[in-house]
Amino acid sequence: MKTTSLPLAGKPAVPVRPRSRLRHWPAALLLLPFFAMLILFSLAPMVWVLVNSVHTEQGLSLANYNDILSSPFYRQAFDNSLRISVWSSVIGLVISLLGAASLRRVSGRLRRLVVSITNMTSNLTGVPLAFAFIILVGTNGALTLLLRQWGLIEDFRLYSSNGVILIYTYFQIPLGVLLLYPAFDSLDDDWQAAASLLGARLWQYWRYVGLPVLAPAILGTFILLFANAIGAYASAYALTQGNFNLITVRIASLVSGDIFLEPNMAAALSVLLMLMLLLVTAVNQWLLKKGARHAR
């Protein structure tokens, strides 16, 4: 209500003096250790990486980047990382999509069981995961023997690109299911009914309604899976003892190997890795915005 225009309002009220923002300083003290830890162990290393990536013995320069981009060895690392991340994310995404879609159509008990299994197996990552796969599909793995005996395969090369993709896909699936499953709740069963009465076959419903509605969730999940894969180190390292050429493996060996350490090179590789992540996220945001009109 406006009271200022009333003639009876009389003397203007004494303005309340805005209380100083500093009056909460004891409370602010409690934030200090929080920020200290965050700066020491998250922001400072980031800054170090950024700064030192452009440092060489000759001072400030982009020589590190230049070296990386002109080295076939590093380019292979990027190739491998990208290929493995994209493939494992795409395969993991497709499997999780199919799984999450079907999960909504089975009985509650089975559904709860699967959700617990996904939760449980999402813990199986890194070194233990690599070991489990060595046991299962390694040179003398149980499944390898089985398939070889049935004559289905000559030999499965776990310690190769395909092996790494297989392992990565395995840890993408639980993550994908857990991220996508809630998104399916936004699909109304009546949409499918309505579409079918308008003449749409099942695939047409998914093509024109289901998947477009899920698109933001699918894109978002893809980004998370991709980021998860491209930053992963432990499983590939444990599987191949560092012999498979990935960016993360390269970075780690440049700072922890026994032979020669090149921390600045590692920093430049790290920055390129982060840029790739940023790029993918930016594309995702752009795609989301493009299709955002109907998003609620």
Binding site: R105, S116, P128, A252, V255, A267
Partner: protein, 256 residues
């Protein structure tokens, strides 16, 4: 019906995909030998007995527990008051905090390690190779889970009204926080602690790069055992897996 059969089959395949590696490892860890045959010969617990009497394993497990529990204790002491202060005194900061806590989540540990190794290898804070650097890193791993969970709990109660009511009844701010707010956070806090615990236990990158053999955690120990018998390593994997299952179960119990 056809549709029902299809959905059941898809779910069955999903279960199979997810559980086969676990079951194979379990079977392997329970078998004496598993040569060139599909199924193992004799089942026994001998690998587990051997493992759980191995002092190196017990020591590594103990170190992992120590560094994880230490981190969680520290994180609780730091994060709980901080989230409360943000909600009670500086609600405008929440947005910034949400962005900040995502950084450790978004930056791959390998990248962080590059910086950490170089900052803390010498100088005033020479903590590389000690558990302390792990505590610092693990703090940042636990942070997003704990902050989000505590923020959700605080958002679901009306902090300001509760605090005002407690003040009117004569409680000082710290007392009001401890007696009125904290009990409301307990469940969310416990759930996030167990979740963070299983994440911390799964870390290999930081442990291997920053501490390595100077402070051999469970994951590093497991990696170093790669040349020993596969049965033995699968017993380690299963022991680790069962322990994280236990943590997952606790998380689920507390997040109900």
């Amino acid at each position: 019906m056809r549709a029902e059969l299809y959905h059941r089959s898809v779910v069955a395949v999903l279960i199979l995909l997810l559980t086969v590696p676990v079951l194979a490892t379990l079977l392997y860890s329970l078998s004496e030998h598993w040569g060139a045959t599909i199924l193992p010969d004799d089942l026994s617990l001998s690998w587990y007995l051997q493992l759980w009497q191995d002092s190196a394993f017990l020591a590594a497990f103990g170190r992992s527990l120590a560094v994880c529990l230490g981190t969680l204790l520290l994180a609780t002491l730091i994060i709980v008051p901080a989230v409360f202060v943000v909600f009670y005194r500086f609600p405008g900061l929440d947005k910034l905090m949400n962005a900040l806590i995502l950084i450790p989540f978004a930056v791959p540990p390998v990248v962080t390690s590059v910086g950490l190794l170089n900052i803390y290898a010498d100088g005033p804070l020479n903590i590389t190779g000690t558990p302390w650097i792990l505590v610092g890193c693990y703090f940042t791993i636990a942070l997003p889970f704990m902050y989000r969970s505590l923020a959700n709990s605080l958002a679901s109660i009306n902090v300001r009204d509760l605090m005002d009511a407690a003040h009117l009844l004569g409680a000082s701010t710290p007392v009001a926080f401890l007696r009125v707010i904290l009990p409301n956070l307990r469940k969310g806090l416990m759930a996030s602690l167990f979740l963070a615990f299983s994440f911390l236990l799964g870390d290999f990158v930081f442990a291997n790069l920053l501490a390595g053999s100077h402070y051999e955690t469970l994951q590093v120990y497991l990696y170093n055992m790669r040349q020993t018998s596969g049965h033995f390593t699968s017993a380690i994997v299963m022991s680790y897996f069962l322990f994280t299952l236990f943590l997952t179960w606790l998380t689920a119990r507390f997040s109900k």
